[in-house]
């Protein structure tokens, strides 16, 4: 698989900033505004041209959107001045993604797990605490990705997914 971006700075467009480092990480930085969720998805659409299988691409886009929505809403508390930083890197048929917000962080262990509790009970609990319908995003992300972990502060999530081997996608090599 060819790499979706070269490891050089890509410049800026609107308030979306793109940077690359010498290790092959591409970092996209966006303000906390809902419209940038779609912009991020558009950026990830480019992976299709690089040979990422369609199923994997849909999964990756779903995960990035869910995690970035959480970062904006719960991490950055929808404060536009706070940024969300999304980095990705391909290596040996896997994609690694990091998403960091500029909030106070959270304890993922405190998030009720729909895999262990009845979702309808989780909904009732959220309602009693005045929270909107939700509580599925992280659960679904964990099911899609091969690895999901957080930094100690809880404001950065690390994700890894091995992609299906189809055509050129299996040729993805180590970069950096």
């Amino acid at each position: 698989m060819t790499e979706p971006n070269q490891p050089e700075p890509q410049g800026t467009k609107d308030d979306l900033e793109v940077r690359a480092d010498h290790l092959g990480w591409i970092e996209l930085t966006v303000p906390t505004k809902e419209e940038y969720l779609s912009r991020l998805e558009e950026m990830f659409e480019g992976f299709a041209k690089a040979g990422v299988p369609e199923d994997d691409l849909q999964d990756i886009k779903f995960v990035v959107r869910e995690i970035c929505e959480n970062a904006m809403e719960w991490g950055n508390r929808m404060q536009a001045a706070r940024k969300v930083h999304v980095s990705y890197r391909f290596e040996e048929g896997q994609i690694f993604i990091r998403v960091r917000d500029e909030g106070e962080g959270f304890n993922p262990a405190m998030v009720p797990d729909p895999g262990k509790l009845k979702y309808t009970d989780i909904l009732a609990d959220r309602r009693s605490r005045g929270k909107r319908v939700g509580g599925l995003g992280l659960f679904m992300v964990r099911k899609i990705m091969d690895e999901v972990s957080f930094n100690d502060k809880g404001n950065e999530v690390f994700l890894r997914k091995r992609m299906k081997e189809t055509g050129s996608a299996s040729d993805a090599g180590t970069r950096g």
Binding site: P114, Y119, L123, V133
Partner: protein, 117 residues
């Protein structure tokens, strides 16, 4: 210029059953609109709904949560769910909570029968 809406929600009555046709990408905004529409219909006295999801291409987790909530709170038939809907609901382990009908007609019929004593 603002982006065009990425989803549509239409409601019509068929044999006194509200049919809510959803299409496009159902994110947080769409989920909120759907909740608002159902609340309005409940205030009008309806307690059963058909959600036609044939043309839904994407469901955010919050939209999945809303559909499960509606199924929990009311009599809801999900008609003709698209492949994307079934895939994401299955991934969330929640597809079993949905009452799925193969067609809108079948869904309406089932809800009408359910109202009879």
């Amino acid at each position: 210029m603002p982006n065009p809406p990425d989803h549509q929600i239409h409601c019509e009555l068929q044999d006194s059953v509200p049919i809510i046709r959803l299409s496009g990408r159902l994110g947080a905004d769409a989920a909120q609109s759907l909740l608002g529409l159902v609340d309005k219909k409940v205030r009008e006295g309806f307690g059963h709904f058909v959600l036609n999801m044939r043309e839904v291409t994407y469901l955010a987790s919050v939209a999945i949560g809303v559909i499960v909530k509606l199924s929990f709170d009311h009599r809801v038939k999900v008609a003709e769910p698209s492949e994307a809907v079934v895939k994401l609901m299955t991934l969330a382990d929640l597809v079993k909570l949905l009452d799925i009908a193969a067609s809108e007609k079948e869904a309406v019929e089932a809800l009408r029968k359910g109202r009879q004593p």
